[in-house]
Amino acid sequence: MEFPFLSSVVFVPLAGMVVVMLIPKQNVLAIRWTSVIFSLFPMLVSFWLTWDYFFNHAGSAAMAYVEGPYNWIPSLNIQYYLGVDGISVPMLFLTGLLTTVSLLASFNIENRVKEYFAFFLLLEAGMMGVFVALDFFLFYVFWEVMLVPMYFLIGVWGGPRKEYAAIKFFLYTLFGSLFMLVSILILYFTSEPHTLNMMTLIDICPTMSHSLQMVCFIFFFIAFAIKVPVWPFHTWLPDAHVEAPTAVSVILAGVLLKMGTYAMLRISWPMFPGALRTLSFWIAVLGAIGIIYGALVSMAQKDLKKLVAYSSVSHMGFCMLALAAFSSVTAIAGCMFQMVSHGLITGAMFLLVGVLYDRAHTREIAAFGGLGVKIPVYTGIMVLFSMASLGLPGMSGFVSEFMVFVGSFGALNKVLVAICVLGVVLGATYILRMVQNIFLGEFDLARWGGLTEINLREIISVAPLAVLTIAIGVYPKPLSMLMSATLENLVTLMAR
């Protein structure tokens, strides 16, 4: 038997959590490094999986590194069934990388260190599990397990309104998940023989009646859209982002939001192509509203972190637009590119906002000015990611947005896509205005004279993100080759 790579990326962090809990709480250093080491393992495995998948499995759309299906709860036909393909491998990569980066960025947590790192590792186990599970019940378990540590991470280590933000996040997501649960049960009892195996359900679901497809599709959509978040389900996001500690914001933006779009591509899109055809225009409209609305609200923000949070709403809108153009491989690939690049860029932006906040203890944009003089290295890195965020050619943001537009222009209402292109301009507006206000202009020596430069640990944590952002921007071909077979297969499934 082959080494169970996929189980290991889920259960090693879990084991790490147990180990961290056994360390005495005074021994802060040991706790920090133990958790980093336990997150290094899944990271390296995810890198290796990406490498190996690229060379050995990328040619076919079949699931690779399959484990199972093993019977878990036979009375209810629940199985333990894991596997990855071209859309989950990049997500695993992103999760592995961002978790380690965030753990490194969490070294400045002084308060209740042990619980923090334990929860973080539990969170990683849940996220990894979502991206590898192929059984509905298992998927749901991971999807929910992840909410608990997130709730605590926001609620204990968050900002002034942490309690409100934490419970709001928990309630919103649980509300959505329960819709998913109903759908899962309906599918289970409609399928003959009863099964929770996603791969089998993808084969049988399109034969179901249109009304049933519509019901299940909408229920799944609510669950996943809350996670993405699609306008009008986005209101938990700014609160959670603003209150969450830096590293948690990184994970929220970098991985959690992607779980929504990933689940759409994995589950509801190929399972209910009939319903998808009926609703695709409206999904595109929601995406477009998200793009424009997110950008406009970003423009009005005074708080730097809130600006980045709303820009996430706008950027995830591009994903939804691409997902609505389900008949185009380019658009779906654009969606995947956008997911990866948004994870890298926004993750880095949140890290950098955290770096500034740690020193200045404020995030108010208007409070700063001319910081480029005082902290040039920080300014350079921040401007790099800002440019990536607004879609400057040569960086991953540009590639993904370009692909989304090229793909969806042919597949969707052209006026709608044209409106969405406007979002890029608006994006440039709020990003440039932010850069101008913070880094250019008059420097307030009296107030910011003591500001220190970004340190080595912080540079190390953003450096891989910067390298990847540029690498994908300059040479996107490997990533697209990695996914192409899976995506083509997905588009055929969705065209049924």
Binding site: L76, E144, V145, F170
Partner: protein, 502 residues
């Protein structure tokens, strides 16, 4: 006509007989030693419960007293739940007996055992009168136990309230039973099933008498199960009575009510379930009560500041979820009722166990006094958090699988038969109120974890109290992650009602 002496088969009743005698031993032991036994009498009761469990396991399936006493799968399954609830309740009362009821320990533990005997008897009885007697034997000791703090106004109020409501509801139940007897000419439930169906077929429609009987019996049992609108006694009784008794009420007495309901409706009146039997059908009416229970329980729990009252309302809501499985009345539904109760046993007894420990130490049941507890008593906080999350239904804890199972049974019925589309409403309301429930359970967690200041209390606990928490945690995790054995066992329950599993 041949008169045959009924087959007594007394050994079928051995666990009940043993526990009854053991309760007497517990009573007298405390008296004979002039109340100097200390905690020994508590350990004595625990041993008695364990031995009863052992006897139960060797007794196995069978029947006695002709067709009156059945040891069928539902009886066996629920007897285990009763014994478990009694065990955990007694194990968490060591603190309270040491502090507040030093001189009446024998009575305290003995009455719990008596009540357990009643529940076990009820679970086996297959005949209306013995069922009623079992129910009375269950509740009358509980009236006394609820009022056990003689000097505490709240406790006395709880006792009186529970007594008045209990007596009233028993009267309703007996009245309903008398109608059922009048309609069928028998108190044997299996015979009643046949007789009533025959009467119905002969006269085409039985008419208003059956409606009356159904409503009266539902009301009578509804009081025991605390299904709204028969729930008003719950918060006051839970708040006033000793915490382990509130826990026992919420699990043991609720499970007893469920068994009584299942026996009367799913057996005796199973022909009058579906909408084609309107207006005599009881399915929709019970569904309505389940909806009310989920809504009322979950909404009112949000406003509570006392954790016992909160858990009281939450137990109303949980009864609503369980009733979904009952209303679904298919083989999946009955099995899910059993499994839900089993998962609920561990989570709820665990949660009450923590509340009892905290109350012994601090004397407070206010949710706000849990503030910052995670800093000083991390084990206690983690345990309570896990129990509460299991009650919400967060995977991979047992409470999640229980909810999943219950909803599955409802959706199975609704998706296979269009005349049961209303079951979707039940599921919908269940899901939305489950989101509400997260809010109030999380409120406790928030107090324990999110407060900036560490708690002023440092709570350590004794060995019996520790055992409650450990058993609860093991149950909640084990039956969430590896529920297969218990699911198999639960899937035998439908056999008791002539439904073939799966």
């Amino acid at each position: 006509m041949d008169w045959q002496l009924p087959e007594y088969n007394l050994q079928m009743m051995l666990p009940e007989i043993f526990l009854f005698l053991w309760a007497l031993v517990v009573f007298t032991f405390d008296l004979l030693t002039k109340r100097k036994t200390g905690s020994a009498v508590g350990y004595l009761s625990l041993v008695g419960l364990l031995v009863t469990g052992f006897i139960l396991s060797i007794t196995g399936y069978g029947r006695g007293f002709s067709t009156m006493f059945f040891n069928d799968p539902i009886a066996l399954f629920f007897k285990i739940i009763f014994l478990g609830a009694a065990f955990l309740a007694i194990a968490s009362s060591f603190g309270i007996t040491k502090q507040k009821i030093v001189n009446h320990r024998g009575e305290f533990f003995g009455l719990i055992l008596f009540s357990t005997v009643g529940m076990m008897f009820l679970a086996s009885s297959n005949e209306l009168l013995s069922l009623y007697i079992g129910l009375e034997l269950t509740t009358i000791p509980l009236f006394v136990l609820a009022a056990f703090f003689k000097d505490d106004k709240l406790s006395v109020e709880a006792g009186i309230k529970y007594f008045v409501v209990g007596a009233f509801s028993s009267a309703l139940l007996v009245y309903g039973i008398s109608f059922l007897y009048g309609l069928s000419g028998t108190t044997d439930l299996v015979q009643m099933k046949i007789n009533i169906a025959l009467t119905h077929l002969t006269f085409k429609n039985i008419g208003v008498i059956l409606v009356l009987a159904v409503v009266l019996v539902i009301a009578g049992i509804g009081y025991k199960l605390a299904l709204p609108p028969f729930h008003q006694w719950v918060p006051d009784v839970y708040e006033g009575s000793p915490t382990p008794i509130a826990a026992f009420l919420s699990v043991g007495s609720k499970a007893a009510g469920l068994v009584a309901f299942a026996k009367i409706f799913l057996n005796g009146l199973s022909a009058f379930y579906g909408p084609e039997m309107a207006p005599n059908d009881w399915g929709k009416l019970t569904g309505l009560l389940a909806c009310l229970a989920m809504i009322v329980g979950n909404v009112l729990a949000i406003r509570q500041s006392n954790i016992k009252r909160m858990l009281g309302y939450s137990s109303i809501a949980q009864a609503g979820y369980i009733m979904i499985g009952m209303v679904a009345m298919n083989e999946l539904g009955l099995a899910s009722v059993g499994f839900y109760m089993f998962a609920y046993l561990f989570a709820n007894m665990g949660a009450f166990g923590v509340v009892a420990i905290f109350e012994d130490k601090t004397g407070s049941c206010q949710i706000s006094s849990y503030s910052g507890l995670s800093r000083t008593s991390p084990m206690l906080s983690v345990s309570l958090t896990i129990f509460l999350l299991s009650l919400v239904g967060i995977p991979p804890l047992a409470g999640f699988l229980a909810k999943y199972y219950v909803f599955a049974s409802a959706i199975k019925l609704a998706s296979s038969n269009p005349s049961y589309n209303w079951m979707y409403w039940l599921v919908g309301i269940g899901l939305i109120t489950a989101v509400f429930s997260l809010y109030y359970y999380a409120n406790v967690i928030k107090n324990m974890y999110f407060a900036a200041e560490p708690s002023v209390y440092r709570v350590n606990f004794s060995a019996p109290a520790m055992s409650v928490i450990v058993i609860g945690l093991v149950g909640v995790f084990l039956f969430g992650l590896y529920p297969e054995p218990i699911l198999r066992f639960a899937s035998d329950i439908p056999l008791s009602f002539g439904l073939v599993p799966r």
